[in-house]
């Protein structure tokens, strides 16, 4: 059920898009109104979630230290994994966000007879996660061609690099294939590793199916159905310049399915685990300087009414014992 229901949900989305593309006015709905709506919900929802997080303070400085701290001058500090300066934190966050540093540490533990525990290197999750995210990024950037005129130089360069194998016409982008492969890996991993399957929720499968659907319809559109790029660009460029118009009958249904799924993803993001894209920047165990003994961290709700059991109260209870034991007292 946890796999099937999100799968059915994505199929249902496709069906809705297919129907909408056929009915009168449906194309305008999916091609014009929905993208604006989805984009607005995405931006609004995204901002709302980030503000919701930011509203709560960070009462304590709790970085997870993954290396030697700043200590005596002759002890070599790990300035990135245990940063004592903002610069160190920036480096740590850079490695985390762009290279998935923590995931790179991943190991796999195995229990053998004895009992004996063995820890092996395990970099596949890191590799496919990196491939997935970077391909996604490249694909999104490539799509900027559809919204910008003239096409920025970096987009053209990206397209050239992505298609450098020069296979087929239109030129085949290798990110498309790697992207599908990475999604497939992430899905198969979830299904085949027993402990990962056990922890997976519908909310883990749904975005995988949805993103696969987006990629797959995109690929079909480019290489199989050969959608009318000029008409599509007219629409997308119109969307970007707030003067959208649909050239009637020139754009195939596959395009509307693709757009519909993209819109679904945009709307889904703020309500889902996909918000990790923003959360990673705000995680207190990663984005804080490990200098809590050097600089006092302020907790806005620190309660001044909590005071230790007083020394006077302590001495009152134990004064006689203290005197007998030769321990100095305040009051004789």
């Amino acid at each position: 059920m946890r796999i099937l229901s999100p799968f059915i949900a994505v199929l249902a989305l496709i069906a809705v898009a297919l129907v909408a593309a056929q009915v009168p006015g449906g194309q305008a709905l999916v091609g014009i109104i929905l993208p604006y709506l989805a984009f607005a919900l995405f931006l609004g929802g995204f901002a709302y979630r980030v503000l919701y997080w930011a509203k709560s303070p960070v009462p304590f400085r709790i970085p997870t230290t993954c290396g030697q701290a700043n200590s005596l001058p002759w002890i070599k500090q790990n300035k990135i994994d245990c940063p004592s300066s903002k610069l160190g934190v920036i480096a740590r966050m850079f490695l985390e966000v762009f290279l998935f540093r923590s995931l790179f540490r991943n190991t796999k533990a195995e229990m053998h007879e004895g009992p004996k525990l063995v820890y092996g290197s395990s970099k596949f999750l890191w590799l496919f996660a990196i491939l997935f995210h970077y391909c996604f990024l490249v694909i999104i950037l490539r799509h900027m061609r559809l919204f910008m005129d003239p096409v920025p130089g970096f987009v053209a360069a990206l397209e050239f690099g992505d298609g450098f194998l020069q296979i087929g016409a239109p030129v085949f982008y290798q990110t498309d294939a790697i992207f599908l492969g990475a999604i497939a890996f992430l899905f198969l991993r979830r299904v085949m590793l027993s402990n990962i399957r056990y922890i997976s929720l519908p909310g883990d499968y749904f975005p995988l199916f949805l993103i696969f659907g987006i990629a797959f319809t995109g690929i079909l559109m480019r290489y199989v159905f050969r959608a009318d790029v000029v008409a599509i660009k007219q629409l997308t460029h119109g969307l970007a310049t707030f003067s959208p118009a649909i050239a009637a009958g020139q754009i195939g249904s596959i395009f509307f399915i693709h757009v519909f799924l993209v819109c679904a993803l945009l709307i889904y993001i703020p309500f889902s685990k996909l918000m990790h894209m923003a959360g990673v920047f705000m995680s207190p165990t990663r984005n804080m300087v490990n200098n809590s003994r050097m600089v006092r961290h302020i907790n806005p709700w620190n309660d001044p009414n909590i005071k230790p059991h007083s020394y006077a109260g302590y001495e009152d209870e134990f004064r006689e014992f203290m005197k007998e034991g030769g321990i100095p007292v305040e009051k004789e």
Binding site: L193, N195, H297, P308, Y311, M322
Partner: protein, 551 residues
């Protein structure tokens, strides 16, 4: 509680059906009930402990510890308040507003599973709910159900779960099968820290009076007597004086510590277990010898006689309350700065919470070693220095006369305690000290030390005897690494800088590696220190014969 023999448990861990050995439970995790039976839970707090805390520890905060009562986890009547569900949900709301970490950690997990096999409790029990991700889901499912739009609309489909008694039981079981060691947070791509989740979970459980005695009683002792052992001032002093007698017998030197002395330069605070229980007392003898050796102007305190902080294992209010004594006493005695002994979670509190909670310590000075002149700028605000930092600096400046041959009967390895390693970054200092006081030192395997260190399995108030099998299971990853160096290098001494470790690793080694002892780093320092005017030493601080002196 008697538990099965190590060889039998070893077979059970490696071959018994569990997620670790490849057996997948038939039911989905939300449908698997938590069943309490003798041996798998720590005893609830005695009624009078909760009464004490409500009336004496935090009378300013009614309701923090729920209602005092006797209750039995094995029954289905926990005598919860009628509106317990409301209390829990309000408690979650309050904590979401107070801790950004909670919100982020609730929202961002993608269930990639990188944390799954990083937890010592999971490795030792194979229980799916001991995978950090599922431990967090126990709380996250309730969060989704009641605090997110998706959960409110789609409920179970969005991974939501209603707060039920069954969920509460799971919380009590699994938030007390986590030692807040933070190992999972090292590997999490978003730094999700199960320690935070467990802390929140335990705070919530306290609100409805669900707790364990092994934490609440030491916390009560700490508040009243200043230390978790409940040692009254004269007893605390007497214990240390006995250690001085032993030192005199072994070295011929009489050390003269002072107590509650005003005007001393340094206040020394260490976990009370160091003055009371083996093998911590040998660590304390190491401190006493060291301070005498360098002529440090310092005092002990019977009022602030506990480095450890059982508040960390209950809620942030209790943590602040108990921690407050350190600065209060430093101020009363008029010392210049505070030196802290070897303790793991004590240093989590000192390093990451103390200044925020009970600072600013503007009545103290930036710690400066009176022997070497080194200014500890890394403690410029908190004004508290770790004994390993202090000792490493002394050795570096050649201020200690050391004879490491005196530890030649020891082949040592070093266990990084969770908190100094992952909540402080104290990694090289103790190693530097060790390498100067022992000739035989071998590291355990890479994946089990430094930031990847494995917990002793019994931290956060779980070192109680009634859950011994659980402790031996969760300590297995650590014990296994010790066994590795024992077999390979004949290691016979596991050194550490943590009082809980000294107690729990001793039980753990007795069980899994009976020929490996446990000590504090400072014990090995004390053994190696050549004291002025001492007699020839024939034994170490445990009265054990030195190498070449046997028989």
């Amino acid at each position: 509680m008697a538990i099965m023999k190590a060889d039998k448990l070893g077979v059970s861990v490696a071959k018994g059906p569990s997620l670790m050995t490849g057996a997948v439970p038939k039911k989905d995790w939300p449908d698997v009930e938590a069943i309490f039976k003798p041996g798998n839970y720590a005893y609830p707090a005695k009624k009078e402990m909760i009464e004490y805390h409500s009336q004496k520890t935090l009378p300013t905060h009614p309701g923090l510890f729920g209602e005092a009562r006797d209750w039995d986890p094995e029954t289905d009547d926990w005598k919860l308040p009628e509106n317990w569900k409301e209390i829990i949900l309000n408690g979650i709301k309050e904590r979401l507003d107070k801790f950004r970490s909670l919100k982020i950690f609730m929202d961002c997990c993608v269930r990639c599973g990188a944390c799954a096999d990083k937890c010592h409790f999971f490795l030792g029990t194979g229980d799916p709910k001991n995978m950090p991700v599922l431990r967090a889901e126990l709380l996250r499912s309730v969060y989704r159900n009641d605090f997110t739009l998706g959960g409110k609309i789609l409920g179970k489909m969005a991974g939501g779960r209603e707060m039920t008694f069954g969920v509460l039981k799971e919380w009590f079981m699994y938030f007390y099968q986590c030692t807040e060691c933070r190992r999972c947070s090292v590997f999490c791509p978003y730094g999700i820290d199960t320690a935070e989740i467990t802390m929140m979970g335990r705070e919530l459980l306290h609100l409805v009076g669900v707790n364990i005695n092994w934490i609440m009683e030491p916390a009560a002792n700490s508040n009243r007597t200043g230390n978790h052992m409940g040692l009254q001032p004269h007893t605390f002093k007497d214990n240390i004086m006995y250690l001085c007698d032993d030192i005199e017998e072994i070295t011929g030197i009489r050390v003269n510590p002072t107590f509650n002395r005003k005007g001393a330069e340094v206040l020394f605070i260490t976990p009370s277990a160091d003055v009371f229980a083996e093998p911590g007392i040998y660590t304390a003898m190491g401190y006493l010898l060291l301070f005498h050796h360098i002529g440090l102007d310092y005092t002990w305190s019977t009022y602030a006689s506990e480095g450890g902080n059982f508040g960390l294992f209950t809620n942030n209010e209790m943590m602040k309350k108990l921690n407050g004594k350190m600065y209060a006493e430093a101020k009363r005695l008029g010392v210049k700065w505070i030196l802290g002994g070897e303790c793991g979670h004590m240093w989590r509190v000192v390093h990451q919470y103390m200044d925020t909670m009970n600072g600013p310590a503007d009545f103290l000075e930036v710690p400066t070693s009176p022997i070497t002149g080194t200014r500890f700028d890394n403690a410029a605000s908190t004004k508290m220095v770790h004994i390993s930092e202090f000792t490493a600096d002394l050795i570096k400046h050649g201020k200690l006369k050391l004879d490491p041959k005196r530890n030649d009967h020891r082949i040592a390895t070093y266990h990084d305690s969770c908190n100094p390693a992952r909540a402080m970054g104290l990694i090289e200092e103790p190693r530097y000290v060790l390498k100067n006081v022992v000739n035989n030192f071998h590291e355990m395997p890479e994946n089990t030390i430094r930031e990847s260190t494995f917990c002793c399995g019994s931290g956060t108030g779980l070192n109680t005897d009634e859950i011994m099998e659980l402790r031996m299971r969760s300590g297995l990853p650590r014990a296994n690494a010790v066994k590795h160096v024992r077999d390979k290098h004949a290691v016979n001494m596991l050194s550490c800088v943590c009082a809980i470790d000294r107690a729990t690793l001793t039980s753990l080694n007795n069980y899994w590696n009976p020929d490996v002892e446990v000590c504090g780093v400072s014990e090995l320092v004390g053994n190696a220190l050549v004291m002025e005017g001492e007699k020839e030493r024939e034994t170490g601080l445990r009265f054990e014969p030195l190498a070449g002196m046997e028989g």
